[in-house]
């Protein structure tokens, strides 16, 4: 049974990722390639299917190397998949060119993690935010200024001349991140991929950015893919969570359900590893081997088996399919955990 049928939602999805793979060939020496012609690959994304409704915010979580950022780059056409198709608003994005591609570029935008590297330090704030408008041929200067100011206002900044003419080094981290949001929404896109947008910000300004994203979903109808390694950040913002492990989704479902009763041992390990503020609560930890295997030599069967405390011989036979455990809540595990998470 194909996964995309399983995961389809009643409404036509805005974005549909169907069994997408992204493999990078492992560079090897000339000799090795002569002796052993079958290439080895880093399987950054190894068969991911996911569908997004309009105005949905989905959280992609996982450790570094899980492929979550690569998925973001595939969706925004920064990279092309090795296999599988990505459909945006009914069109296969890899087949887009000319005007259709330009339209797509207008409708899908990104926000990045590092507030320092995300802005061109030689551009003023105005230049940064107006750039997408210039690329998309907005000729009228007054119109451009109006839209730049609107985008900055929507991003929670005051679009005064001081700010428009400032350079990134004059701004705090939180302000920079708001400018990069303004740049992303100035074309009024439908989909924004936010790749760890708050993880490098101070705690005291993080929630401002998170609230802003939630607001933008309501005001301008954004659909957001929110990539994060931090489950506690995701819980307040997202509608659904997809947990990725070594290039595959291992659990996906409504945010509350996944956090409160995760079925997959990996999701539970992630949840249980989050330290708690309340010093009186002692959390229970699942013992998993702290280092994931390399994405080149994956274990047979379930790819989490090498770290899983509940592994049985059956786990090593074949990789499990995603199974619906509760409405909209899918898990890729043959021994899903049912006991409550103790906390």
């Amino acid at each position: 049974m194909s996964e995309n049928i399983l995961l389809s939602t009643p409404q036509t999805p805005l974005l549909s990722v169907d069994d997408v793979k992204k493999w990078y060939p492992v560079r090897q020496s000339m000799f090795a390639s002569l002796i052993q012609p079958d290439k080895r690959f880093v399987k950054a994304i190894d068969g991911v299917s996911i569908q997004l409704k309009k105005q949905e915010i989905i959280g992609l979580v996982g450790e570094s190397g899980s492929g979550k950022s690569t998925l973001g780059e595939l969706v925004t056409l920064l990279q092309t998949p090795t296999e599988g198709t990505i459909t945006f608003d009914g069109a296969d994005i890899s087949s887009l060119h000319g005007d259709a591609l330009k339209q797509f570029r207008k409708r899908v935008q990104v926000i990045f993690q590092d507030p320092y590297a995300t802005l061109n330090q030689r551009f003023t704030i105005y230049r940064t935010v107006v750039e997408p408008l210039i690329i998309h041929g907005v000729r009228d200067k007054g119109e451009r200024t109006r839209r730049v100011k609107l985008a900055l206002t929507r991003s929670g900044l005051k679009p005064e001349d001081d700010l428009l003419n400032a350079y990134p080094h004059n701004l705090s981290g939180g302000q920079r991140q708001r400018v990069s949001i303004a740049r992303a929404i100035v074309l009024e896109p439908d989909l924004v991929v936010a790749d760890e947008p708050v993880s490098m910000l101070d705690v005291s300004v993080r929630s401002g950015i998170l609230n802003l994203l939630a607001e933008l979903r309501d005001t301008i109808g954004l659909t957001i893919i929110f990539i994060s390694h931090d489950l506690s950040t995701v819980q307040n913002l997202c509608d659904r969570i997809a947990v990725m492990y070594l290039g595959r989704i291992v659990e996906i479902g409504p945010v509350k359900q996944v956090i409160e009763r995760a079925f997959h041992p990996y999701t539970r390990a992630l949840l249980e590893a989050v330290p708690l503020v309340d010093p009186d609560v002692k959390r229970e930890r699942t013992n998993i081997d702290s280092e994931p295997p390399s994405a080149i030599d994956l274990p047979p069967g379930c790819r989490f088996s090498s770290r899983c405390p509940f592994v049985t011989p059956e786990c090593l036979i074949a990789e499990p399919e995603l199974v619906e455990m509760a409405p909209g809540h899918y898990v890729r595990c043959i021994h899903p955990r049912h006991e409550p998470i103790w906390y």
Binding site: R27, Q28, S29, M30, F31, A32
Partner: protein, 326 residues
Amino acid sequence: MKGYRGFLLRRVLFGLFTIWVIITLVFVLFRVTPGDPTVFMVDSTFDPAVREEILHKFGLDKPLWQQYLIYIGNLLKGDMGRSFVSHRPVAEELGGVLPNTIILAFTSFILAYVLGVLLGAFLAAKRGQWQDSLGISLVLFFRSAPTFWIGMILLMIFSFKLGWFPSGRIRSLGYVTTGGLDKYLNLDFLHHLILPTVVAGLYLVALPVMLTRNTLLEVLKEDYIELARAKGLPGRTILLKHGVRNAILPVVTAAAVYIGLAIAGMAEIEVVFSWPGVGQAIVLAVRSHDYPVAQGAFLLLAIMVSVMSLVADLAYAYLDPRISYD
């Protein structure tokens, strides 16, 4: 170490490729420049029999592509024609002076690099103090002064005025050597070697000094340097064992390129000190329109440059454990 062998092979192949490109470049240059190409291979002073023989041997009566193949074939055999001046085979003529250039270039390069790295480390340790400014200014002075000019000045002072050193050539008139290694392993040769080596060394020292200093200053900001301090290691250990050892890597990489520049830059020094080397040979040959020697000397220099940079690249790969050889 399979990876290293693969890297080595690729690097050697690329070195050969580079030399081939330069050989071809020279061939093309001599053919596309206006005028009769035969004038580059045979001189009017040659007697007709020799002239015929050379024209035939280099295929100058044949189409261009055949000339090219013959040219490559002859080079592989080490045959680069005959000198217009001495009428001796070019290979023989250059073979005699090649060691002189190698010795001069090597001594000055090693001198410059060893002293340069030490001085660079010293300046980094004294950064921002007067020793630093003085060192940088001096080094830049010798970098900005043409070698031949410094050579002339030193000749004026130490040779003409004070008479401490000979004014040129590699050995005194009338000095007889028994041949073999004794040609170079004697005090007379050393006496002749000093001034040109100093001049070349002064010019070459700038890059290792500046590169070591600047790289070391960067390295000293690394986290592992701070941890080394936290470990309570003495300052000198940190500077030398942790700082210089890491700063040396880019300095060695630069050597690959730099030794090539050093060899290429020997021509003026050889001329000033009448040092019978490949650089002087090419200058004299070009001046007297002795094209076979000029071409041969140029190729020889280019090959030396390529070989030297190859050696330095391999040394770098050996020094840095992080290199993946891919």
